[in-house]
């Protein structure tokens, strides 16, 4: 096997605590308790070791990273260690003083999530009244020097609101806006039948987004992610297993991605017991799907195997029952019919009037 490249980014999943209860959340349904969270000192060491390993950027995420009372210290430690610091947040709990402290500590990039273009949708999707706070945060960000991205999480219930979402982005100081269609892991799987858009809705949204990309060129970078159930080929998940990213979970376990715990039989190392370098290079979980020896047909002899690595291992497990199988969203997968059936089910059920109450499964708080 060729030498293992250095990771580019550390996903620091600081906590699973969160004030929101989004029905699309990709955290595992088995959330980690607060009592097992890593200490400030542990995280500081993880940042140093990651930077030494060649990591350039860290994403502070969760749950809600602002739920950590030491978040300003963590930002400072990551920046001091030499990392570019991204904060992936719902925008609460936050006030202007805390925002100033985060920026003074070295925060580079503030990525704010939106659950809808209005309070009603946001409340239905997140189970909380937080939309007004997000709009306040946008005002606070305007006079402050930090990169700003707005992340609109897209699904059937809000895909028609893209024009209003673009208006929110336009009136903010964001240099980048991402329209990220829900991907089906964690809590999103439980709510999938209500979240997956129809093909027609997706196509209409793509036209709107492509026009917006042109209109905003030079002012705002408009980016989007389509639901891969509608793709012909799978996404190159995480840039390949154990190639570019490492995720440290709240308790210190190190995963190749946020969903990896759905795969049975994987054993994960913990930063409290081994160094980041040792884990990256020799952890059983990381080695499991590196290279190409693990691939089944058709991936094994497919000309795309170094482009998309056979897609997502976790999705292969969830949809085909086998983490080594071709990701079933791939048109070349013998199990593509599973995905077609899910999509067909969505078309059948995508009719109910908006006023009909949906029995959502809301994300709990650990």
């Amino acid at each position: 096997m060729s030498a293992i490249p250095n990771p580019l980014a550390l996903i620091a999943e600081l906590t699973h605590r969160c004030p929101l209860h989004c029905v699309y959340c990709s955290n595992p349904q088995e959330l980690e308790s607060r009592t097992t969270e890593l200490s400030t000192a542990d995280w500081c060491r993880v940042f140093k070791e990651s930077a030494e390993l060649g990591v350039l950027q860290t994403d502070f995420t969760g749950g809600e990273p602002l739920a950590r009372t030491d978040i300003v210290d963590l930002v400072r430690a990551a920046r001091t260690a030499g990392l570019y610091v991204n904060l992936i947040t719902s925008g609460l709990p936050l006030d202007e003083a805390r925002l100033d402290a985060l920026i003074a500590a070295g925060l580079d990039h503030f990525q704010l999530s939106f659950q809808g273009a209005n309070e009603e949708t946001a409340e239905e999707i997140s189970g909380t009244k937080t939309h007004a706070q997000k709009l306040r945060v946008l005002e606070w960000l305007k006079p402050r020097r930090v990169a700003v991205t707005l992340n609109f999480v897209i699904h059937r219930r809000n895909i028609a609101q893209i024009p209003q979402m673009l208006a929110i982005a336009k009136s903010s100081s964001a240099s980048r806006v991402e329209f990220a269609n829900v991907q089906y892991y964690g809590w999103a799987v439980a709510n999938r039948s209500e979240l997956l858009p129809t093909r027609a809705q997706l196509d209409a949204s793509l036209e709107t987004l492509q026009q917006a990309q042109e209109k905003f060129r030079g002012r705002i970078r408009v980016e989007y992610v389509v639901p891969d159930y509608y793709a012909k080929f799978p996404k190159p998940c995480m840039g390949g297993w154990g190639r570019k990213f490492l995720l440290v979970a709240p308790s210190g376990e190190v995963l190749p991605c946020h969903a990896a715990k759905v795969i049975p039989g994987l054993s994960f190392d913990n930063v409290q017991r081994r160094s980041v370098r040792e884990i990256w290079e020799s952890s059983e979980a990381f080695q499991k799907f590196r290279g190409q020896e693990w691939m089944q047909e058709p991936c094994r002899s497919c000309e795309r195997r170094e482009l998309d690595f056979g897609g997502c291992r976790c999705q292969a497990l969830l949809l085909a029952g086998d983490a080594a199988a071709t990701d079933p969203v791939c048109s070349l997968s013998p199990k593509r019919g599973t995905v077609d059936a899910i999509v067909a089910g969505v078309i059948r059920s995508a009719g109910p009037p908006i006023s009909q109450k949906i029995d959502w499964i809301y994300r709990t708080n650990p």
């Binding site: 580019l8 350039l56 950027q57 030499g82 570019y84 991204n86 580079d108 990039h109 990525q111 305007k142 020097r145 930090v146 990169a147 700003v148 991205t149 100081s173 240099s175 980048r176 060129r217 030079g218 002012r219 705002i220 970078r221």
Partner: protein, 97 residues
């Protein structure tokens, strides 16, 4: 919010946008860091970015690089620089004042 021109004129002064910066001093390879991107810089790209400090005009950057790359066709150097600045502007890595 600054109104930024779409085409950088010769007197405009490029500056790295908020949240866009070089990696730590002395750390090789020199890299431009920004949201969801990391660009390795070497030779001309590094020399251009180092001058995007809100002080150098586009004209000055062109003149300085033409001096460094004295063997290259001057108009080609100018064209390449303007193209690179425009690309980074579209990526939202640069603002022009």
């Amino acid at each position: 919010m600054t109104e930024t021109p779409t085409m950088p004129g010769p007197q405009s002064k490029p500056r790295l946008a908020p949240g866009c910066r070089l990696n730590d001093d002395g750390k090789q390879p020199r890299t431009l860091l920004m949201p969801e991107r990391a660009l390795r810089l070497q030779g001309p790209s590094l020399e251009i970015i180092e001058r995007c400090d809100g002080q150098h005009t586009v004209e000055q950057i062109v003149a300085e690089l033409q001096k460094i790359y004295s063997k290259a066709v001057p108009e080609k150097v100018a064209e390449d620089i303007r193209g690179y600045l425009r690309l980074l502007h579209e990526q939202r890595a640069l603002d022009f004042q």
